[in-house]
Symmetry: C2
Subunit: 382 residues, 2 copies
C-alpha cells in the first residue's frame, strides 16, 4: 500500500493527468498575460481565460460568463464578497458551522461596529434548521451566508430552503462551496444564490492559486471592489471599471493556474459529477460502517451520506488526536488532519472544542483498499 | 528568427528550466497544503514556503523572514498595503508616473473622503525631483508611494533620496518594484523602505499567481488586514492572528507557484543580478542607438540607461501605434505592447495621452540578434 491521502478537504493532492498537461501547455506554449498586449500569444491567453469562465459558468448554470471572477483562493473570494457588499448598520445571518474565512471577516466588521451578525446555532451534528434562519431576519438583514457543507462534520446545509427564504425576503444569499463544488450539483439559479464562492484546488481538481466566485449582476452592481488596479481596460481612467469581470479582477491573472483548473473541471464533466459522488459515497459508506464497529470511536456529525459529504470527524480512544494523526502518517502513510480545522465555532457546536477532532476526507482518487486498510489500522491501534 | 518576446514588462515569458522543474516537483511529489496538516508531506510543503521566504528575504536584505508575505500578484500587495495603513484624514504623496495598481486604490479612498493625495508631477521624461516630495509633506502625511521605475518611460525613480526624506520625517515609505526586482539591487534596509511590493512573474522569473510584499514590523503592526480567514494558526479564535506572516496570509497558499518563484530567484542569484542587468543594459544600449537613427521615432523617456531601465516607449511615424504593434507581431513575430499600459497619469505626464505609446521591454532571455532584427524591421516599416 502506497501513501493514502485522506486530507481532500484541504486540497486534492492527486489530480487528473490532463491538469498537469494544461499547466505545461500554458507554461511552454503560451506564457503570456491575457489582455495585456495585442499580439497573438497574449490573445491566446485571453481566449484560455474566457474558455475557463465558460467551463465554470456551465458547471454552476450561470447565464453570463462575465459573472465568473477569478481570485487567489476562496478566502479572497469570500472577503471580496463580504467586505464589498456590507455597509454600516447591515445585518448578516450565518451559521455556527462556518469556516474562519467567513467568521473572521464578519467578526472584524462587527467589532468595528459596522454590522450585526446572528450566528444560527446548528445541532450537535452540525445540522441547520432553515426555519431558524427565517426567524432571525430583521429589516436590516442584507446578507445570509452559508457553507454548503461543513469542513468539520461534513454536514450538508439546507441551501435550497435557505435560498428560498433569502429570495422571498429580498436578501442576498452567499454560499461557500469549498467542500462541495465538483462533487455535488450546484445550480446558481435554482438555489437562488447571489454569490457562489468556489475553490479551484479541492474537488475541482485545479492547482493551488485558483478560486473565485460567481455573482449575480444585481449584487455585483451594489458591491464595491476590495482590490483595484490595472485591468487592461479603461486604462485612461483612474477609477476601477464598473463592469464585470474587470470590476473585481485586477493585476495579472494566474493564467497558468486557471488553465489547470479548466482542465480539472473538464475532467469532472467527462467522468460526471454523479459518478464522482457515487464513488466517494461508496467509499464513505464502507468507512462509516467500519468506524461504527470500533468501540473507541465517536463519529462527530450526521453519520450518514444522505445528510453529509464523505468528510468524517472522529474522537475517541485514550490517544491524543494529534498523536494519532502523527502515528497514522508516520507508521502507516495515512494522511489525515487533527485539530480545529480553522472552524472554532463548528467545534463548539459539535462539542469538540477545544480538543478538536481527527478528520478523514475522501476524494475521487481514493480506493476501496485504501479505506479498508485505514479501517484495519484504526482497529489495531485504538 | 523565432518569436521575439519584447513584453517583459508585462510578464517574463521565458523562464529558467529549473522553474518548470520546481513546479513539477511540487505537483508530482508534494501536492499538499502547508500548515494544514501534521503529516510529513504537508510539513514538506511548509518547509518549501519557509525556504521561499528566506530566498526573498535574502534578495531584499530583510532581517526576519516572517516579514515576507505572499499574495496573488503585486496589485493585491499594493492594495493590502494602501488600504491597510491609510485611515481617515491621512495624507499621501505619490508621483504622476504610478501604475493603476497604485492610482486606483488611492483614487477610491480619496473619492470617499478618507484621504488626501498629492501627485508630484514628474518631468516630460518621467523623472521625479525628490525635493518636490519633501516640499509636499504636511503634518498629516502618513505615506509616500513610489514606483521604482516607470512601466511606461522606464525612468528610474530617486527611491534612495525619497527614502531619506520619508525616514527623516517619520513617514512610511512604500515602493512598487514590479519593473525592477530581479534586475536592480533593492536593499530594503538601505533604502529605508517600510513596504516593498514585488511581483513574482516578471523579472523574478516565477510563474503567474505569485507576488507579495516585505513589510517593516512597525508598519505591519499599524496595518489592518484586508483579507482575513483561515491561517492554520490560532484556529480557536475568530480574530485574525496579529503576528506575521499570518496576519496577511489567509486561505490556501499558491504553493505550486511559490515553489516556481523560489527556483526563479535562485536562478537569478546563481547568474548574479549585476550580470543580468549588464546583459539587459547592453541590449538596451544597442536598441536605443538604433532607435535614435530612425528619424520617424520619438523616444518617450530618459533615453539613457543611467536614468532608466531597458523598457522603451516610442511614438512616431504616420502609422497608428496599435496597428504597428499588430504588424510587428503578425508579420515579424515581434511581441510588443501599445496603448496606455494601465498608467494614464504617466502618459499625461509624458505628453502621450490619450494615444499612448508603443513599448518594447527587454528581458534576460532576449538576445542581440533579436534586438538587431527588431531594429531592422522598424527601419523598414516606418
Amino acid at each position: 500500500m502506497g501513501k493514502i491521502y485522506l486530507d481532500n478537504a484541504a486540497t486534492s493532492r492527486n489530480k487528473p493527468e490532463t491538469v498537469k498537461k494544461a499547466i505545461l501547455n500554458y507554461y511552454e506554449n503560451i506564457g503570456c498575460s491575457p489582455g495585456r498586449g495585442g499580439y497573438e500569444d497574449s490573445l491566446q491567453a485571453g481566449r484560455l481565460i474566457i474558455e475557463a469562465r465558460k467551463t465554470i459558468a456551465d458547471l454552476f448554470n450561470i447565464d453570463d460568463l462575465k459573472q465568473i471572477i477569478f481570485t487567489h483562493n476562496i478566502t479572497y473570494a469570500l472577503n471580496i464578497g463580504i467586505k464589498g457588499i456590507l455597509k454600516k448598520r447591515d445585518h448578516v445571518i450565518t451559521s455556527t458551522m462556518e469556516h474562519n474565512s467567513v467568521l473572521r471577516p464578519l467578526n472584524s466588521l462587527e467589532k468595528k461596529g459596522i454590522i450585526n451578525v446572528d450566528y444560527i446555532k446548528c445541532d450537535e451534528k452540525g445540522r441547520l434548521d432553515p426555519e431558524k434562519v427565517e426567524a432571525a431576519i430583521n429589516k436590516n438583514t442584507k446578507l445570509i451566508i452559508l457553507t454548503h457543507a461543513s469542513n468539520v462534520s461534513g454536514a450538508l446545509m439546507p441551501v435550497k430552503e435557505v435560498g428560498e427564504v433569502a429570495s422571498k425576503n429580498n436578501i442576498y444569499f452567499m454560499i461557500d462551496t469549498a467542500q462541495t463544488a465538483g462533487i455535488y450539483d450546484i445550480n446558481f439559479k435554482r438555489l437562488k444564490v447571489d454569490f457562489l464562492a468556489f475553490t479551484g484546488h479541492k474537488a475541482l481538481m485545479g492547482p493551488t492559486g485558483t478560486g473565485g466566485f460567481a455573482v449575480s449582476k444585481k449584487m455585483a452592481a451594489e458591491m464595491e471592489p476590495l482590490i483595484e488596479g490595472g485591468t487592461g481596460s479603461k486604462s485612461d481612467q483612474e477609477e476601477q471599471p464598473d463592469f464585470l469581470p474587470d470590476k473585481f479582477e485586477s493585476g495579472t491573472m494566474n493564467t497558468m493556474g486557471i488553465s489547470g483548473l479548466k482542465a480539472g473541471i473538464e475532467f469532472i464533466k467527462k467522468i460526471g459529477i454523479k459518478k464522482i459522488r457515487e464513488h466517494e459515497h461508496q467509499l464513505g459508506k464502507v468507512f462509516l460502517e467500519g468506524l461504527n464497529k470500533i468501540a473507541e470511536i465517536k463519529i462527530i456529525g450526521p453519520g450518514n451520506l444522505r445528510e453529509q459529504i464523505p468528510t468524517f470527524s472522529i474522537t475517541g480512544g485514550a490517544k491524543d488526536l494529534g498523536q494519532l494523526s502523527f502515528e497514522l502518517d508516520d507508521k502507516y502513510n495515512i494522511m489525515t488532519r487533527s485539530g480545529l480545522h480553522c472552524a472554532p465555532f463548528a467545534h463548539k457546536t459539535l462539542g469538540t472544542y477545544p480538543e478538536g477532532s481527527l478528520r478523514f476526507s475522501i476524494g475521487y482518487f481514493n480506493t476501496l483498499p485504501e479505506i479498508e486498510f485505514t479501517l484495519d489500522v484504526l482497529k489495531n491501534i485504538l
